[in-house]
Symmetry: C2
């Protein structure tokens, strides 16, 4: 996948998966889901650290890393992230059904 050059204003979840597929799937298929999940966990830890005391650009980079590893695991597992999100959240909160969630704060939506 080649992204258009120059500033972009949008990146779809499908484009994210395609970009990460081009970049990493060959390696991550060899690594397998378990090994790739371990890298995701490392990034989750780094995100936690950056949420605690990271500069904004460091925090943004950690979010990007978590998304990239999540996308590569979805690629290896054959999951369409865009379809998954639209099916679960596209018509409202899966808990209460409203577009502005009214589930109790202590319950999982």
């Amino acid at each position: 996948m080649n992204l258009p050059t120059g500033p972009r204003e949008t990146l779809s979840l499908a484009e994210l998966q395609s970009l990460i597929d081009t970049m990493y799937s060959r390696k991550d298929e060899a690594r397998g889901i378990d090994g790739t999940f371990m890298w995701l966990m490392e990034e989750i830890g780094e995100l936690a650290g950056a949420l605690r005391d990271g500069k904004p650009d460091e925090l943004a980079a950690e979010f990007a890393d978590v998304l990239a590893w999540l996308a590569t695991i979805a690629n290896v597992a054959g999951i369409d992230l865009q379809q998954a999100v639209l099916e679960k959240y596209g018509n409202g909160c899966p808990g209460c059904g409203d577009m502005v969630c009214c589930c109790d704060l202590a319950t999982k939506p």
Copy 2:
């Protein structure tokens, strides 16, 4: 944010953040980043379980949940996920610089 009705073929990262912002930001701002991160961790655990032995639709739903909680934390923290991904991965692997990563399998890209 109102998503157009009917089948959709695309959802941008910005639309994902906007959708989740409408649905959950009021609650998650009250909950705070630490409390919201705990819910993300619970979803990460459920994703691990579904990767192990979930049916495809269950696995897709767990990916959607992780993305939703990640998006809501990004919203509370004021991070633009789309911009973050494009800046870090839009021009190639941040490790080797290539569009098809050639970093060693044992190293973090």
